[in-house]
Symmetry: C2
Subunit: 307 residues, 2 copies
């Protein structure tokens, strides 16, 4: 920390955000929301902030990390399932058939997921994802997945919490997957993690809850809004996302005079440059005047550990 | 508050709880859970406490207050529905046909509820229940429903919060009904209220969420456990209930070495004396050695405002 009074080109908040319009807009909003008596004051009870997870709080390439964990589990459990050697989509995973896996649809991904985690207890699944996030290595960056959290977003979470915002993660990913590491990696307690959820089973008179094989709620699109209402009970005033699956959540927040931030993956050197899956969100953000953060121009550094 | 050093037959915590085995058991558990290095220490992240609502935090007779609000709405909306005069179960409500209403099954109750609140926004429904709880009068006590909260339970909520427990309400009642007043009446934020929930609808590009006409999840029995896992993500270590619908939640907490408290409605003078709907829970509590609190012997006073 620099001493007060020293000349510093970066203020001490959000120090991994480059100076510019985006950082200024974030700070303006938070200052306005916390200035009692001011025209933009937001009471503490209403200071709800929602963050998408994959591609917003950490990277999501070459595939969603949750899928990479599932592939890892297919390998780990293959000895117990000799039939997988000849059976798709298991065969493709075991043979590292990238071409096949790139064309994998959600139904096939769910088949894999149900095979390796259906029937597991929800507690064991959280342990699995915790270990994966903190020990396994990303195939391209060759660093722990935890290291691929975005440092500017971590700072933003903490900045909001310091100003009495209550931060929730609202992700299309499996709720248990993210809960396995959310407290450790983001300081977000499990009850503030909303994700896709399964039709689980309670084994009567036991301490066990078993993961169902089917999803009860896929937390994308309009379901993000419905699940925000189900889990939180009030609209967010601050929302961050990066893809078309976040569109309804961002629009819902904007409709309540909230601050909307869309993260653009435009840094092909330090991360991945892509717009597919975010075309509509980017168009809408421009049309509505939502704030668009550029990973190339606004983030320095990008990751918690590398760069 | 008495000055330190004064002789006082009641310690200054839980002062509306009579001295005795029940109060001592509660305090013992909390002291053990918060004594670092001790054999019963519970880390802060795991200090989850769950409370049933009707009959646990406030009264539930002559009928669940949620039903009384629905009846009130049938009267209020009757002018727009002349057909209700001849159509059951509306007719019975409008004619105060107590005999018919006592025999009302859940399907008929849901018909009433859907008629008066289906299609309403979730925000408007919370305003409705807030106004009902703080303004309408109970038909027998002739006092506001808010006044019929149990003071000993309010003190217990606050006692737990002071010891870094995070309190959740886990009720068979409608989630929106309880959220309408939970912050004001219990200091429990909306995101810590878990109840029965409907298949709601999001009106795209608008700030509105409309209540569905059907329930998606009835939060009783095993569903209480599944919804605790869905909303909280970890087992409770402290659970309070009063009926058979709480049984699985209490057993789940006990199975995780948690403290289980069952409230017995045995005070026919100051409240209502009844065991129906709680027979199995009382039997199980005795068999398992769970703590049973007697409203007659352990509560003084019972209510926030009267007695």
């Amino acid at each position: 920390m620099l001493l007060a009074g020293c000349v510093d080109s970066k203020p001490q908040v959000l120090s991994s955000w480059e100076e510019g319009a985006v950082k200024a807009a974030i700070i303006d909003f938070v200052v306005g929301a916390t200035t009692e008596g001011g025209p933009h004051f937001v009471p503490v009870a209403d200071r709800i902030a929602v963050f998408d997870h994959d591609g917003t709080l950490w990277a999501e390439r070459p595939e969603y990390f949750q899928f990479l964990m599932i592939y890892e589990q297919v390998h780990a459990q293959a000895a117990d399932h000799p039939e997988w050697q000849e059976q798709q989509p298991f065969k493709a995973v075991l043979e590292h058939d990238t071409e096949y896996l790139e064309g994998l649809d959600y139904a096939a991904a769910r088949t894999l997921s149900a095979a390796v985690s259906g029937g597991m207890t929800t507690a064991d699944y959280m342990t699995l994802s915790h270990d994966f996030a903190t020990r396994s290595l990303h195939p391209e960056f060759n660093t722990r997945y935890a290291d691929l959290r975005y440092l500017p977003m971590l700072e933003l979470l903490q900045y909001l919490e310091r100003h009495s915002f209550r931060v929730f993660i609202v992700s299309g990913g499996d709720m248990g997957f993210i809960r396995g590491f959310a407290e450790l990696l983001y300081g977000v307690p499990r009850d503030r993690v909303i994700g896709s959820s399964r039709s689980n089973m309670f084994v009567d008179d036991s301490p066990l809850i078993l993961r169902g094989k089917k999803y009860a709620s896929m937390n994308v699109g309009a379901n993000k809004v419905l699940n925000i209402d189900l889990h939180i009970g009030r609209p967010p005033v601050f929302a961050v996302g990066n893809s078309d699956g976040d569109l309804e959540m961002l629009a819902y927040t904007a409709a309540h005079d909230g601050f909307v931030l869309l993260l653009s993956h435009d840094d092909d050197e330090r991360e991945y440059g892509y717009t597919n899956g975010a075309e509509i969100a980017l168009q809408k953000a421009r049309a509505e005047g939502w704030t668009i953060a550029s990973m190339r121009d606004d983030f320095d550094p990008i990751f918690v550990q590398i760069n």
